[in-house]
């Protein structure tokens, strides 16, 4: 596997890859995120959990630059940016999947994942139009990378199927493929298992672990299924009403009284 090709200095495994410091975000009078700080270390699987409306998705949107926090700082690979635009985040090596599948429904699986490589394409628009010379060589190279992902996610049999015709669980998998095509350093997964049955969840969990293991990708995920979160993640941060109420290993979080009160109700 080639090394992630994001810009900026290399971060060693175990060091802080991204840190969020005292971030607050409000929409009018509603405080979606209130003075939250946590960090994500290189190579870990970090879960963000919390009840509905806790500000989890807002937090992800802040991380990948879709929202700009009114207060606080985000440091990614040692660079602090008060304001980062989504394309900058993408160039920097942050990819994400969405709570609601965001794919081109009329395009095939292959084309959707190829679309994820767009950022890595360097041939000029002119050559791409001609589909010849450098553009052609580049496409062959990218296609090879995409095929590796297709094999990795075991979706060979639907390579040529339009995404719209696939069942939901498969679409989620394709979306993961699309995000992987960017060779991200940090992968944000917004409820990757929402609406899946047990078997699909098990498959997806396997893939998340495999991505982390095989590509060495750091993963931040939001998930409601406590079993999944506790099994997958190395560390968990818990939000409630925009405030961070706990942060630690799954075992620590499970025992934390504030978390039990606010969210879990009774320990599962």
């Amino acid at each position: 596997m080639r090394a992630p090709s994001g810009t900026g200095p290399e971060v060693a495994v175990g060091d802080v890859l991204l840190s969020v410091e005292n971030v607050s975000l409000s929409f009018g009078g509603v405080k979606a995120v209130n003075d939250v700080s946590f960090d994500i270390r290189k190579g870990e699987i970090r879960a963000i959990i919390g009840p509905n409306g806790a500000g989890k998705t807002s937090m992800l949107n802040v991380i990948n630059g879709f929202y700009h926090p009114q207060q606080g700082r985000i440091t990614f690979k040692g660079e602090t940016r008060p304001q980062m635009r989504p394309y900058e985040a993408a160039h920097g090596g942050i990819a994400r999947t969405f709570q609601n599948v965001a794919l081109f429904r009329g395009m095939t699986v292959l084309d959707n994942i190829m679309a994820g490589r767009t950022l890595k394409m360097h041939a000029s628009f002119f050559w791409q139009l001609l589909h010849f010379g450098p553009a052609m060589n580049e496409e062959v190279e990218h296609r090879h990378f995409v095929e590796e992902i297709i094999e990795f996610l075991k979706i060979q049999e639907i390579r040529r199927t339009p995404v719209g015709r696939l069942p939901y669980g498969m679409q989620k998998r394709v979306e993961l493929g699309r995000a992987l095509a960017m060779e991200p350093e940090l992968l944000l997964l917004d409820e990757p298992m929402a609406g899946m049955n047990l078997e699909e969840k098990e498959d997806m969990s396997r893939f998340v672990l495999d991505v982390n293991d095989h590509y060495g990708t750091t993963i931040a995920l939001i998930e409601h299924d406590m079993g999944v979160v506790m099994d997958l993640s190395d560390r968990v941060v818990v939000l409630d009403h925009g405030i961070k109420i706990a942060d630690g290993t799954p075992d620590d979080v499970k025992k934390n009284q504030a978390v039990i009160d606010a969210y879990l109700g009774v320990a599962h």
Partner: protein
Amino acid sequence: MAQTAAASADTFPKLLIRNANIYGSRPGMRHKDYGIWQTWTWAQMLEVVRAYAVGLQQLGLKRGETIAIVGGNRPKLYWSVMAAQMLGAIPVPVYADAVADELAFVLAHADVRYAAVEDQEQVDKITSVLDRLPRLERMLYDEKRGLRDYDHGNLRAMDDVIAEGRKSLASDPSVGAMLDAEIAAGKGSDPSIILYTSGTTGRSKGVVLTGERSIAAATDTVTFDKLTVDDVALAYLPLAWVGDHYLNYAQGLVSGFCMACPENADTAMADLREIGPTFFFAPPRTMEVLLTRVMIRMEDAGVLKRKMFHYFIGVARQYGEKILNGEPVPLGGRLLYWLGNILVYGPLKNVLGFSRVRVAYTAGEAVGPELFAFYRSIGLNLKQLYGQTEAFLYLTAQPDGEIYSDTVGRACPNVDIRIAEDGEVQFKSPGMFAGYFKDKEKTAEAMTADGYVKTGDAGFFDEKTGHLKIIDRSRDVGRLNDGTLFPPKYIENKLKFFPNIREAVAYGDKRDFVAVMLNIDLTAVGSWAERNNVVYASYQELAGHPLVYDMIEKHVAEVNRSLAADKLTAGAQIKRFLILHKELDADDGELTRTQKVRRGFIAERYAPLIKALYDGSSEADISTEVTFEDGRKGTISARVKIRDMLTEPAPGALEKAA
């Protein structure tokens, strides 16, 4: 050419060398990987296999030892077979979908020290039963994924083994010479491979086959079907099954044709279309599945297309087989068939991947005559063969132009078949097995005093055609209490021709009447349910739906009509049927790994249902244990309904009434 091959090479590695010499630049194997067909010529294959063999030798694999091969149809697994054979070691292929328990049995019984496996799944499976395999020392794997963090103390990647072998070969000329000596030391009478039978009854047995006999058998059929280096076959059937080893591996090495490995099991049918094989084999079940898929798609097609399809299929049914057999057909019929070929049969064969097929075989179990006729009528040269693992597959095959749906053809060249007094088919053949591995007793049981092998099948030679007809497993054919002949397979096959019926199990031996248990086909019935606004959440719910019962009842009635048409079988009409609440599954032991019904086992497992079928009750409760893929167990319980059927009057009875 093929004959000279048999004379000069008596082991598969020697054949590989011959192929590399005379067909060096011709493709020997293809595999779809990363979405592209990767190709190895015979010369390249020899180079890889030699390197692999040296690598294995350095790991300690020795002549006469066994090595398990576990996984799907992947080039490296076939090369594992070849490399082991080069060293005189004996490969033991195991079904990739075998559950851990079956795997443990075979690996322990075969005394394997090494296992060449496909991926993490197989490594995990073997690891879980390691305590039952004290002799197993090392596993080699093909697919690296997920295995990075495993303890590599006794785990190696095949790629690394090959690379090390290659390095040794390059750096030290004596290594190559030593390997050549090993290959030359291989004798045709040495065991070449051990294939475990699927075990319709009881534990599977290890069938030992030798190189020279295997090659002799394959040479005969390669000549029979005129297979050449220009042919292409798709290797998509289980590697551990005798059919794959024979049809693809042995015939490929003998004739030099190209064997293509699909991307994975799910893409096999799409890959079939891309590769366009010229030689094709499919068990009746696969042919059924393909037909079912076509029929479902036609139901969803527009009115015009649907009408056209059914009209021309009608034309094909009338003239197609006659044209294929070279019988006289009126000019109008020929013209219509020609038109149908342009509009329907050609495109249909293309969709199925049969456009280039020159010879297609089906075997494994009796094929439904309607199913068989369908494929032949659209111009596919589908033929039947009959054989078994102990014979290294072929015993009989239908020669071109002599095709009858109810026979399995003439004895193959050099095969000697006789019918014993009790109707059992017995044979002597070039590919005959050397014995069951570590089981002298069973070997002796399977042989007659004068050296013939007992097949356990009942059959006879048809007087008109001289072809062999197989009635059933000889112990399966029974009689009803009133003495009527009861051939279960025959009835089951009639039922299974309906796309909606996936599996059927018939009972009637020593009973008053025939009763059947059915599995519906979830794809076909599911599509029907969608079109008819039938709501269901699971197989179980759909199977118990009254409308589904109504539909299946019509099918059963039709089968009864066709049974009634023949005096012999008129008494064996189905009086009662039920639809099972779960699909029969090999993981639960209800089917063999080759998807054959294990009737006796099912009768035990569903005893309450059988009882209800015969005591007249209209429903019965059943609770069964199911095994999940990872070996966990659960239970399913259900109340299953039973329907009574009216039977048709037999033709004889009708005459009397008139």
